[in-house]
C-alpha cells in the first residue's frame, strides 16, 4: 500500500475535533505540498502573461505554461502537445467539442449516443446540440452495473456521428472498455468522445490505446489546482473545428473586416489562460508519475476490495456498482437501508468522515437505479484502509442512531 498522506497538508485537519477522513476525491482531490508550492513559486518568481512577450519573465511564464502542456501530452500519450487544450474543467472540454464540432453540423441532422451512466456534463451539452437538430439516444446499463455494449451494436447506425461515454463512472465505479467502444464506433464511421474525469487521475490512460477522438478530464481531480481541465483531441479534428471563444491569443491577424485564426492548440485558448493552474497541474503530473499510475491503480483496488468486504460484513447497506474490485474504481455509492443519504453524510461528518450525498450529478442514473439519491465514498492514493474503517465505524453509529 502507498503511504502518501504526509504530503497532503489538508489531511492533517480536524473536523468537529476528529481527524478528517476525506472520502470525496471523486468530487475534487486534495493537493500535495508539491503542487501548492509550485503554484506559490510561480507567483513569486515567474508570473507574467504568456502572450509571446519579449521580456525574460514573459518567456519564462510561456515556457512553464507550454511545458505543462507537454507533460499532459506525455501522460496520456498524445501524438503531439498540439492536441492538448487547456480549459477550466472537464465540463468545458465537453462543451468545447459540442460547440466547435457539433453545433455547426447539428442542423443537418445525425445522431449522438450517450449513456445513462453519464455525469450531467456528458448529457446536458448534448441535449443542447439535440435542440439544434441532432438526435440523442442513451445506451443503458445491465443488472451488473456495466454498460450494455451489446445494445450499442444495435443502435449504431449510419446516422450516428458520435458515441460519447464515460471511461469510469462517478457513481457506480464501473470502468468501461474504451477500446471495445471505439472499435464498434469507428467501424460504424462514428467519432468517440471519452469522459475521462474519473479515469485519468486513477490509472494509466493512453489515448492511442483507447482509440478515442476526443477526451475530457479535470486537473483538479488529479491533484492539480482548481480551474484546470483538459481537452485532448486528434490533431485533424482540431484543425477542422471552428474556434470556441474569440479574442486575444487565438488570432493570427485581426482587421475590422475580418480575422484569421492562430494554429492549434492556441486557436482554442482565447485570452489569458490559467497559467498558475497549468504550472500546478504539471507538478501534479510529476507527482503522479513519480509514484506511478499502475501503483496507484493497485493501491485503490486494494482499498476498494477492503471497503466492499467491510460493507458486506456490516449488513443493511446496498451498494450500486460492480462487485469485483478489478473491474471498477474506488468510487462506492451506497444506501443504508432506512436512512436517507443526507442523514448518513451529516452523521458521518460529525465523525470527521467526509463523503458526498445526493444525486452525484447523475440524475438519469439515479432514476435508472430507482433511488432519489445515494451516499458516495471515494478514495484516492492518499487514503488508507483505516479511512474506510472509520467510514464503517461511522456507519455503525448511523445505524444505531436510526435504529436500523
Amino acid at each position: 500500500m502507498l503511504d502518501t498522506k504526509k504530503d497532503f497538508p489538508l489531511l492533517k485537519r480536524k473536523i468537529s475535533g476528529k481527524d478528517l477522513v476525506y472520502l470525496d476525491s471523486a468530487a475534487t482531490s486534495q493537493k500535495p505540498v508539491q503542487v501548492i508550492e509550485a503554484v506559490k513559486e510561480y507567483y513569486e518568481n515567474r508570473n507574467a502573461n504568456v502572450a509571446r512577450s519579449v521580456h525574460k519573465l514573459g518567456e519564462e511564464a510561456t515556457e512553464a505554461y507550454e511545458n505543462a502542456r507537454k507533460a499532459v501530452a506525455k501522460l496520456i500519450n498524445a501524438n503531439s502537445e498540439k492536441e492538448i487544450i487547456f480549459v477550466r474543467n472537464a465540463t468545458e472540454a465537453i462543451n468545447l467539442v459540442a460547440y466547435s464540432y457539433f453545433l455547426p453540423i447539428a442542423p443537418s441532422g445525425g445522431k449522438i449516443i450517450s449513456t445513462v451512466m453519464e455525469h450531467h456534463s456528458n448529457i446536458v451539452p448534448w441535449q443542447f446540440i439535440n435542440s439544434h437538430g441532432m438526435e440523442l439516444e442513451f445506451l443503458g446499463i445491465k443488472k451488473d452495473f456495466t454498460l450494455d455494449t451489446e445494445n450499442l451494436g444495435r443502435i449504431l447506425s449510419p446516422e450516428t456521428k458520435l458515441v460519447t461515454v464515460t471511461h469510469a463512472s462517478n457513481v457506480l465505479g464501473t470502468v468501461n472498455d474504451p477500446k471495445e467502444i471505439s472499435g464498434m464506433a469507428h467501424d460504424n464511421g462514428s467519432l468517440v468522445m471519452l469522459d475521462a474525469a474519473q479515469s485519468v487521475p486513477h490509472m494509466q490512460v493512453d489515448v492511442q490505446d483507447t482509440g478515442c477522438d476526443f477526451m475530457a478530464f479535470s486537473g483538479h481531480k488529479m491533484l492539480g489546482p482548481t480551474g484546470t481541465g483538459i481537452l485532448y483531441a486528434k490533431e485533424e479534428h482540431l484543425e477542422s473545428m471552428e474556434p470556441f471563444m474569440y479574442g486575444g491569443d487565438m488570432i493570427k491577424e485581426v482587421s475590422l473586416e475580418g480575422t484569421t485564426f492562430n494554429g492549434i492548440p492556441w486557436k482554442f485558448e482565447a485570452g489569458t489562460p490559467n497559467i498558475a493552474g497549468a504550472v500546478g497541474l504539471h507538478a501534479a503530473i510529476d507527482y503522479l508519475e513519480k509514484i506511478g499510475l499502475e501503483k496507484i491503480r493497485r493501491h485503490e483496488a486494494e482499498l476498494t476490495e477492503h471497503a466492499l468486504d467491510e460493507f458486506s460484513r456490516l449488513g443493511g447497506v446496498e451498494i450500486y456498482g460492480p462487485k469485483n474490485a478489478d473491474k471498477r474504481g474506488c468510487v462506492i455509492s451506497f444506501n443504508v437501508k432506512g436512512v436517507h443519504p443526507h442523514d448518513v453524510a451529516s452523521l458521518l461528518d460529525r465523525e470527521g468522515v467526509a463523503i458526498r450525498s445526493g444525486h452525484a450529478c447523475a440524475q438519469p442514473l439515479m432514476k435508472r437505479l430507482g433511488v432519489g439519491a445515494v451516499a458516495r465514498a471515494s478514495g484516492y492514493l492518499y487514503n488508507g484502509k483505516s479511512d474506510f474503517d472509520a467510514l464503517v465505524e461511522g456507519l455503525k453509529k448511523v445505524k444505531r442512531v436510526f435504529g436500523v
Binding site: H340, H342, S346, S357, G358, H359, V371, G372, A373, F402
Partner: protein, 122 residues
C-alpha cells in the same frame, strides 16, 4: 437549539403524527428537492378561513420529514391569513434545530410546499 439528530427529531421522523393524505382537499402542493431526490406532498383542509386539517406525504431525510410534521402541528387550527405570514425565518426558529446551510433546504421543503398550497387555496 436542538441537535439535528435529537431524540425529538428522530421520533418525528420515525413516527410522524401528520403523515398521510386527505381526499378532496381544499389545497394540495407538491415540492421536490432534486439535489437529494426528496419529494413532499402537502394536503390541507380549510374551513371558515381556518386550517382544519393538514397532512403530508413523501420521502426524504430525517430533517425534511420531521420539519414537515412539526410544521403541520403548528399550523393546524390557525387562520389561513396568519399562516401565510409565517416567514422562513420564524419557522426555522420555531423549529429550533441547528442546521448547516446545506441542510436548510431540507428543513424548508415543507414550508415551500405549504406556501404553495395556501397560494392555490386562494
Amino acid at each position: 437549539m436542538l441537535d439535528m439528530y435529537a431524540e425529538e427529531i428522530l421520533e418525528r421522523y420515525k413516527d410522524p403524527v401528520n403523515k398521510g393524505s386527505i381526499k378532496n382537499t381544499a389545497a394540495e402542493a407538491h415540492e421536490t428537492n432534486p439535489l437529494c431526490g426528496d419529494s413532499l406532498d402537502i394536503y390541507l383542509k380549510i374551513e371558515g378561513g381556518k386550517i382544519s386539517g393538514a397532512k403530508f406525504n413523501g420521502f426524504g431525510c430525517a430533517i425534511s420529514q420531521a420539519a414537515a410534521d412539526i410544521l403541520l402541528d403548528t399550523v393546524k387550527g390557525k387562520n389561513v391569513k396568519d399562516v401565510k405570514m409565517l416567514s422562513k425565518g420564524s419557522f426555522l426558529s420555531a423549529l429550533g434545530v441547528s442546521l448547516s446551510p446545506a441542510r436548510l433546504k431540507c428543513a424548508l421543503l415543507s414550508w415551500h410546499a405549504l406556501m404553495m398550497a395556501l397560494e392555490r387555496a386562494g
